[in-house]
Amino acid sequence: MTLLHGRARTWAGFAGAAVLLFALAPLALTDFRLGLLAKYLCTAMVAVGICLAWGRGGLLTLGQGLFFGLGGYAMAMHLKIADAGPGNLPDFMQLYGTATELPWWWRPFANPAFALAATVLLPMAVAALLGSFIFRRRVKGAYFAILSQALAAAFAIWLIGQQATTGGTNGLTDIQGFFGYDLDDPVNQRTVYFVIAAALLLLIALARQLIHSRYGELLVAVRDSEERVRFLGYDPAKVKLVAYVVAAGMAGLAGALFVPAVGIISPAMIGIVPSIEFVIGAAVGGRASLVGAVLGAIGVAWAKTALSEEFPAAWTYFQGLLFIVALAFLPGGLASLGGVLRRRRDRQRKAAVVAVGEAA
């Protein structure tokens, strides 16, 4: 009975979100705001992965920019090749490069199927490789966090240094088409938004399934006491690796969809600062709760836009303050607000009962 009730609630939640994303938002928002929402939803997709890896698995993934970038560049490379047309080099290579033909590592991305698969599989493969080393050697906590940052920073610096083949600091800009559709057309922009919204809902459903599966319970167990899990006969390195790789794939997909939504991918989305910002969104909303992390990511990204539009010269004060207040005083994020209030109320009630009891 309760089970059915619970399932019904879940479906109602998904249906509500779908109505909001697919019907209300496109009606209520201008093209520009809808485009921004698409961008926020991309960060929310990263947050879904962070919720899984950090919130449930305790891995402080401070280097998600790396995977976001891998996915983004994989997609943008294909789109640039497609924009240039067969036989031509992408515009920036003609301007800044010396090569007369595509570098060998660009060539596979001319194939749309390869590029699409690479947006997700490439980050996952890199994560699997890194993770299998890192977790087997039991690098964790602060070490893992700083290591992730170093990797993201190294990738960004490398990209910047290869101007002739990666666009350097500029990144890959001025992306015109998306698999044959002209991104100039507002209708197509809208379609990109719908694709992103659908992808987000899909990732949420996927993460939900994982979190509620036996694996999800095990992941929480690893987070709370890795050694204990080891004594139960599991290999925690593998458990963590799965969450890390899945989170990387989600970040990659987010990066890939960010490209048609914003029309640009650059090292500015990859280094240390964006990587921290990805985590902060999830943390403000509530790292362990899927809904909290997603709404936190959207909310923080929205707040950044709104605050910087309202106070262009002072908005970083408010942003900093938001992080401090949300994280120092609400460790479970905004998602825990209800619980915190409920507990406080219960405590007061209990205190009242005790007082009454003593009085009697």
């Binding site: 070490y143 190294a154 992080f323």
Partner: protein
């Protein structure tokens, strides 16, 4: 040959800067396990202190020397304030500390921009620090900048002072006691809260001194802290958390590595290679160069 020697000296001087930047972190991060992203802004506070003092004290040399203790106190006080306001609530959540202090760092940068203006500001180095010393004469002379020697001396002095403080003074004993066993220290009558704050004061104060030193070699502006903070954390992590000697060795090794690689490649490539080397090293020694051996599970 001169090139190799010269690059080694350059590497040592880069290492000295890294060491000064990381030294304060070896207390707050290494000993107390607090990931303080605002540490970079405490360095910035030290640099701006030098700038402000130079406006009121005309002699560049005197104002620099005065700036050392003043910056120590200014940054130290900022650190103690931060500890009291926020960090003490977060000791059990080291990773949250990282994000909260990131917020603090954003606010401090904006504050600097509003007080001192967005552009970088200038300090004058005293004349005795702008020249250089010739180590090997001849057609290809090997020279070392006075400012670099000064920073090296400052770094060595800071390491010695910190070591002596931790080893010999009652305060140092208390800090070590709290680091090793918080509960036991508490029942032995040590106020852990006070020790925490003092240690944070010391660590942040060292950042202030690093800030004074940085005015001799780099820009003084609102984002100067962000430029160096990750490097500083890497030094601590590779050296081994809680291990001063690891920090010292790693700072110099990374400095020399960076300078030698950079000479034969480019700055970008050298940076990437150093980062990759660090990642590889941590695969080999996941707890850093030196580790505290304990029987604890965590």
């Amino acid at each position: 040959m001169t090139v190799i020697l010269g690059q080694t000296f350059t590497g040592i001087s880069i290492g000295a800067v890294l060491l000064l930047i990381a030294l304060g972190l070896s207390l707050t991060f290494g000993q107390m396990n607090v990931i303080n992203m605002a540490h970079g802004e405490f360095i910035m506070a030290g640099a701006y202190t030098t700038y402000v003092l130079q406006k009121s004290i005309s002699g560049a040399g005197i104002s620099l020397l005065v700036a050392l203790p003043v910056a120590f106190i200014v940054s130290g006080a900022l650190g103690a304030l931060l500890e009291w306001l926020l960090i003490r609530r977060l000791y059990l959540r080291p990773l949250d500390t990282l994000l909260v202090t990131w917020g603090v760092s954003l606010m401090l940068q904006q504050l600097a921009r509003d007080i001192f203006g967005a552009p970088n500001v200038q300090t004058r180095a005293p004349d005795w620090l702008t020249g250089n010393v010739t180590l090997i004469g001849g057609a290809d002379p090997l020279t070392v900048a006075n400012s670099r020697l000064f920073i090296l001396g400052l770094a060595v002095a800071a390491v010695v002072a910190l070591t002596l403080t931790l080893r010999l003074t009652p305060l140092g004993r208390r800090i070590r006691a709290v680091v090793q066993n918080r509960d036991l220290a508490e029942v032995s009558g040590i106020s852990t809260a006070r020790v925490d704050r003092t240690a944070f004061f010391l660590g942040s104060g060292l950042a202030g001194i690093a800030g004074v030193a940085l005015t001799l070699v780099g820009p003084i502006g609102p984002t100067m802290g962000t430029n160096v903070i990750i490097d500083a954390f890497l030094v601590i992590v590779v050296g081994g958390i809680g291990q001063l000697k690891g920090t010292v060795i790693v700072a110099f090794v990374l400095g020399v590595l960076q300078s030698v690689l950079e000479y034969s490649t480019t700055l970008s490539v050298a940076k990437v290679l150093v980062l990759v080397a660090i990642v590889a090293f941590l695969q080999w020694r996941p707890q850093g160069l030196y580790t505290l051996r304990t029987r604890s599970l965590v």
